[in-house]
Amino acid sequence: MSMRRYYEFVIEALIFASGIASIIFVLLIFIFLLKEGLMLFEHVGVFEFLFGKYWYPISEPPRLGILPLILGSLWVTFGATVISVPLGIACAIFIGEIAPGWLKEVLKAGVELLAAIPSIVLGFIGLVTLVPMVKKVFGLPTGLTAISGSIMLAFMAMPTIVSIMEDALNAVPRGYREGSIAMGATQWQTIRRIVLPSASSGIIAAVMLGIGRVVGETMAVMMITGNAAVIPMSFFAPVRTMTATIAAEMGETVQGSEHYFALFAIGIVLFAITFVINLLADFALHGKQIRT
């Protein structure tokens, strides 16, 4: 009997340890980004790093200003948001409210399929199809531009936006719709005036998480935006994002160099951005629970 109690004690200790593992990992990620990233600021000021206009990591001495990279991420993200939010919301309304049963399942499977395609594959397909197309349609010297990245990322954000928003629509009680229809409203009037306002916090969360996905996307954006670390002036010029900079340059740095620390410092910036976005999205979804 005591043997069994000992066994149960060990198991339950393991369960509790695993339970808080997620907290530990978030902390570990944060600590190890800080551990390497903060070393940079022995050489470079925080302000100079965040708002420096020149990213020349291998010049002598290196210039490590990430403003071009922040703006690169911002431009690409903005473009992707403008494309993906209206399309994603429209698609979620169609799948969640309008499509009949069988079509709904087919469309949902299609969205899940899009989510399952690895970003490297989408990047490759973008490189061989989208990039030449953008070059031709807009008559540009190169198709490796911010707009290519925005289009690509819009598609990659779509599954997140559609599936979370569809959940939000599903959570609106049936009675709301029935009440509205019974009052003589059309189905569209019901969706627009009753269902969408009721699901608004879920829609906000869907958009936020979609943006989070776009900010963090790495491989596809690195392959098709041209990777020019200059302050972007147009959607039709090459840009370089923060994520792409880390992925492209980490392999070539010397461990312990300023450049190496700077890439970790970019990681801190990215981690902070996605942390805030996810927190806000979660509060939008579960805001009421926080008070308990």
Binding site: E8, I11, E12, I15, S18, G19, I20, S22, I23, F25, V26, I29, F32, L33, K35, P86, L87, C91, F94, I98, L107, G110, V111, E112, L113, L114, A116, I117, P118, S119, I120, V121, G123, F124, I125, V128, T186, Q187, W188, Q189, L209, G212, G216, T218, M219, M223, I246, A247, M250, L263, F264, G267, L270, T274, F275, N278, L279, A281, Q289, T292
Partner: protein, 284 residues
């Protein structure tokens, strides 16, 4: 007459909503068609089982498939026990309190951390600090942390969908809490846990950024010998072929993409089949 206008408006709006859905889904179908039609021309037994030759411009992709397999297996070894135990904690032990809320926020944040930041984390902790070097071990651990939220969320849902009465009957027969979980709850949650696991596996298999600095080898014309070896991997190989090596035949790139997408789609199909099979069999 007013009603008529509303009907017309609805027709127009629904048409545009349908159009938006098509704009999203038609490219998905086109992407698959292109990958399949162009990739299948190089796809044969030799392509799958031969070593790459001539600076990866010909030959097969065998070591990349093996490498991806090792990485996925390694990921599961670490992520599965922690993920399931964590889900058990959240579903069976935790109360609605601040700690639970913080755990949930941590899971949401883990799911949202950019993949390349996982790469930095893996480099900092596993490769450099714990001195595993760029190795299958370091790569698997990095991927394991990344897929943890997927496994936890799916397993927790599966556990919570097991009816309360199952637990109550078990307690009434004198079983302890762990015995109840082990024999009355876990077996019924297994299909859901399995589905979540397969989805996380396919996620791990397709990721490139987390393995860039933790395990991926540019070109390694032999199979890895131990968990401390570097390995080639399918997604990284596709990256190398399409951007790092000049003059690679496009067909070879499509073929690699087809194998990667094929593996992932098959894994997802298996997950869907398991889910629907057990949903049909479920008796409560």
């Amino acid at each position: 007459m007013k009603l008529g206008n509303a009907q017309v408006e609805q027709k127009i709006v629904f048409f545009f909503l349908f159009l938006s859905t098509l704009i999203i889904l038609i490219p998905v179908i086109l992407v698959l068609i292109v990958i399949i039609s162009r990739g299948s021309s190089v796809l044969n037994w030799a392509f799958l089982t031969a070593m790459p030759r001539m600076g990866m411009r010909s030959g097969g992709i065998f070591p990349t498939i093996v490498g991806t397999f090792y990485l996925v297996a390694g990921t599961l070894v670490f992520a599965l026990p922690i993920g399931i135990f964590s889900a058990i904690y959240l579903s069976e032990y935790s109360k609605r309190n601040l700690l639970t809320r913080i755990i949930e926020l941590a899971i949401v944040n883990l799911a949202g951390v950019p993949s390349v930041v996982y790469g930095l984390f893996g480099l900092g902790l596993f490769v450099v600090f714990l001195k595993f070097g760029a190795s299958i071990l370091a790569g698997s651990l990095t991927l394991a942390v990344m897929v943890l939220p997927v496994i936890i969320t799916a397993s927790r849902e599966a556990l919570q969908s097991v009816p309360r009465s199952f637990r109550e009957v078990s307690y009434s027969l004198g079983a302890t809490k762990w015995q109840t979980i082990r024999y009355a709850v876990l077996p019924h949650a297994l299909p859901g846990i399995l589905t979540g696991t397969i989805l996380s596996v396919s996620r791990a298999a397709g990721e490139t950024a987390p393995i860039l600095f933790t395990v991926a080898a540019f070109y390694l014309p032999r199979l890895p010998q131990s968990i401390f070896d570097q390995a080639m991997a399918l997604p990284y190989h596709l990256y190398v072929l399409s951007t790092q090596v000049p003059n690679v035949r496009l067909e070879l790139q499509y073929g690699t993409a087809l194998v990667l997408v094929g593996l992932i789609v098959i894994a997802n199909l298996v997950a869907v089949i398991i889910r629907s099979y057990f949903r049909a069999k479920k008796q409560w």
